[in-house]
């Protein structure tokens, strides 16, 4: 299984702060497994993705396997 960590507003959109999805997952597979509103938000370039704590420069390169952690990160808040 793969743990999906949802931060900030994306947790509201996903209805939870963590989800669990079946491995393996690539970027299109991840979006297909999420609610459509969530998948759409993820394509927004301001929303970033981290795999096991490392930011991905290109989301399309996501390749997650069993016991990996994917974090979905909206822009950080202003001060």
């Amino acid at each position: 299984m793969i743990t999906i960590v949802l931060l900030g507003k994306l947790a509201d959109l996903g209805g939870a702060s963590t989800l669990t999805l079946a491995a393996p997952l690539d970027w299109e597979g991840l979006k297909a497994a999420l609610p459509p509103a969530m998948a759409e938000a993820l394509d927004d370039p301001r929303n970033r993705v981290a795999l096991n704590g490392a930011l991905l420069a290109d989301k399309a390169e996501l390749r997650a396997n069993a016991s990996d952690e994917i974090a979905l990160l909206p822009p950080v808040s202003g001060g």
């Binding site: 947790a11 981290a50 704590g53 822009p75 808040s77």
Partner: protein
């Protein structure tokens, strides 16, 4: 002396600054900035609480990288950078950055630099509780302007 921390509980800045100053003997000056949760966020009415969430694998490393950049850029003896996470009430301190240096310009500029970069370098998401419920805080245009001050 370098002290970078995320705190889950209310803190009193003076209890951090005193020991930090003592830990940098021979310093010429210490500059400290403490930010508190405001009661009133702009035009939105009273704030009852502020919640900060973070993503552990990115947030603390982001603060350490920012500290590295401050040490590279300024001549510092010590740097303290402490940020609250969790639920805070108005009036509680949310961030404390303190820099010790031989010369005051380095100490003041390092604090200014860290405060301008903390929000972009560190991963925090904030939401405010007002009378009508919780509201996420969006990025501000000011933040980009603050960062532009340090391009050179």
């Amino acid at each position: 002396m370098r002290d970078i921390r995320l705190l889950t509980q209310m803190f009193i800045p003076g209890t951090l600054i005193g020991p930090f100053t003592q830990a940098n003997p021979g310093l010429g000056g210490v500059c400290t900035f403490v930010g508190e949760v405001r009661h009133d966020a702009k035009e939105h009415g009273g704030v009852e609480a502020l919640e900060l969430s973070h993503y552990e694998p990115l947030t603390l490393p982001g603060m350490h990288e920012l500290a590295d950049r401050a040490f590279d850029r300024f001549t510092l003896m010590g740097l303290l950078m402490v940020h609250r996470i969790g639920v805070l009430r108005p009036g509680e301190p949310i961030v404390c950055v303190s820099a010790a240096a031989l010369h005051r310009r380095d100490a003041i500029d390092a604090v200014d630099f860290c405060m301008d970069h903390l929000k972009s370098a560190a991963w925090f998401w904030k939401r405010e509780k007002r009378a009508d419920g919780w509201h996420w805080i969006e990025p501000r245009a000011d933040d980009t302007r603050d960062l532009a001050r340090w391009q050179s």
